[in-house]
């Protein structure tokens, strides 16, 4: 069971949250090529190690926030707000 720290509500069990997938993906403009569009829709970093992802406090305050998490140990490195740049993690 993960314990995630919601920026508003503090530490809560993972069952209160849902994961919104990889963060820091920017929507391309309407003139984007098919390749750029496919990249945006489907292609992901999917790292073995630290990943940057969005989480949603779905059964709580409803806030979205970013999490840096290790995909092997599941250790949560840091929690940071939506819109903030990708942090440097150890």
């Amino acid at each position: 069971m993960l314990s995630l720290t919601c920026p508003h509500c503090g530490p809560r069990d993972e069952t209160e949250f849902s994961c919104g997938g990889e963060s820091h993906i920017e929507r391309p403009g309407v003139e984007a090529s098919d390749e750029t569009w496919a990249d945006y829709l489907f292609v992901r970093d999917n790292p073995r190690g630290v990943t940057f992802e969005r989480w949603h406090h779905r059964f709580g305050c409803g806030a979205w926030f970013n999490v840096a998490r290790d995909t092997v140990s599941h250790e949560i490195k840091t929690v940071y707000p939506m819109g903030a740049p990708r942090p440097t993690t150890p």
């Binding site: 069971m1 993960l2 069990d13 993972e14 069952t15 849902s18 994961c19 997938g21 990889e22 098919d34 390749e35 569009w37 496919a38 990249d39 829709l41 489907f42 292609v43 992901r44 970093d45 999917n46 790292p47 073995r48 990943t51 992802e53 998490r69 995909t71 092997v72 140990s73 599941h74």
Partner: protein, 417 residues
């Protein structure tokens, strides 16, 4: 020379106290170079090596496996085989796989313990009934066996379900694919390994591929923990770790890795002789030859490379099981584990060229790679030998994500992930 397994060889070895059985396959040192190197000694990698040698006469082949063969998802799935897919492309492919499974014990001279006990998909609502009528009829149009079931039919096949008037998930009917069933997953890996080895394929275990040497004309060598190995072509068949190898090759994939868990109960006397799937409960269950109930469910819904599985999903799966079968509530669970699966948006595999010349992809099987092993190997061998897609897998290339020609089986995978 491969020793043929037969009643006579068994009797002969029994008289000698079973002390003279030869190794089922060699453990060779790698040669300096191969025509084809397959990365990943799971079912798909080993089947590919076998069909390269058998169907295409390409025998200078090595399979590199960082652990032991069949130790990844091939040994971690719930052993279900079926071809109850919705769209014609998938139906053709997966039914070819099931047909190969039907002849595989004889083909490989290795008992894969195929048991075509059927798979019953349950309908718990009017919507389920309508959707399953469409599904079962689509299968028939595609030439695959399917039968719609009434509530009484289901009751006859699976008497232990909850048929009480106040059941949380009332059983209104369902449908079945009678040719679906289970096969011994380890035996599939071992059978293909032994047969490929007999045709000259080198199976190199405990040897990790860590990178690639790429020249102007494409891949030249693979870097392994046993040194640099020259190659003509490389096939990647590493399931949930495909993105990791893609990164070393300089490209990214439309793949997300998740943990998919499964569990078995303590062994009990025979009480379930079919595979039961309930999309509404989010679980499926069968009983193994040892008597254990083998239970699977949905994905752990965040990215993971951990072969563990989280507790909330395990709890959800167990809750689904006892909602369907209240009498299972006293059973103790014996083991629980997870495999790292490679999920793509349309739940259709990726079988095709990679952006690096000479490197080919076999991935994107998501939660359903085991049933696809024979056809996956068959078509991947064709691709590696001829540098063109097999007719059964023409729509499965990476280019579909750009062209938009997705084959969206996501809804047809049985479990909503």
């Amino acid at each position: 020379m491969m020793q043929r397994y037969s009643f006579l060889s068994l009797a002969g070895h029994a008289l000698r106290g079973h002390r003279a059985w030869p190794q089922a396959w060699r453990s060779p040192q790698p040669k300096p170079a191969y025509d084809v190197v397959i990365v990943g000694g799971g079912g798909h990698g080993l089947a590919t090596a076998y069909y390269l040698a058998k169907n295409h006469g390409v025998r200078n082949v090595a399979v590199f496996e960082k652990g032991w063969i069949g130790g990844g998802n091939t040994g971690r799935n719930t052993t279900v085989v079926r071809s109850n897919y919705l769209f014609p492309e998938s139906a053709r492919f997966y039914d070819h796989s099931l047909k190969l499974y039907e002849g595989l014990s004889r083909e490989l001279n290795f008992n894969i313990m195929l048991s075509q006990r059927g798979m019953v998909t349950l309908a718990h609502s009017r919507h389920d009934i309508d959707a399953q009528r469409r599904w079962a009829n689509a299968m028939r149009i595609n030439g695959i066996d399917s039968d719609l079931l009434t509530r009484e039919d289901v009751r006859r096949l699976v008497p232990r379900l909850d048929y009480a008037p106040d059941a949380r998930l009332p059983v209104l009917g369902g449908f079945t694919q009678p040719r679906a069933g289970t096969a011994r997953h380890d035996a599939v890996a071992w059978g293909y390994a032994r047969a490929a080895d007999a045709l000259g394929v080198d199976i190199i275990q405990n040897c990790e591929v860590t990178g690639f040497d790429i020249g102007a004309d494409g891949v030249r060598a693979v870097k392994t923990s046993l040194g640099l190995i020259g190659v003509g072509r490389v096939g990647l068949a590493v399931a949930g770790h495909s993105s990791v190898l893609a990164r070393t090759l300089g490209f990214r994939l439309p793949v997300q890795s998740y943990a998919l868990q499964a569990m078995v109960s303590e062994p009990i006397k025979p009480l379930l002789d079919t595979v039961v799937l309930s999309p509404s409960a989010g679980i499926y269950v069968s009983q193994s030859d040892k008597g254990e109930l083998v239970i699977g469910g949905g994905l752990d819904l965040y990215a993971s490379y951990a072969q563990r599985g989280n507790l909330p999903t395990a709890e959800q799966v167990i809750a689904g099981l006892i909602t369907l079968f209240p009498s299972f509530s006293r059973l103790r669970m014996l083991r629980q584990w997870a495999g790292v699966v490679d999920v793509v948006h349309d739940s259709t595999p990726i079988l095709g060229r990679s952006p690096v010349p000479g490197v080919f992809l076999n991935c994107g099987w998501g939660t359903g790679g085991f049933k696809a092993i024979p056809a996956g190997g068959w078509c991947f061998a064709h691709l590696l030998a001829k540098n063109e897609s097999h007719p059964l897998a023409t729509g499965f290339g990476l280019d579909r994500f750009t062209s938009g020609a997705l084959i969206d089986e996501a809804a047809a995978s049985g479990i909503a992930h």
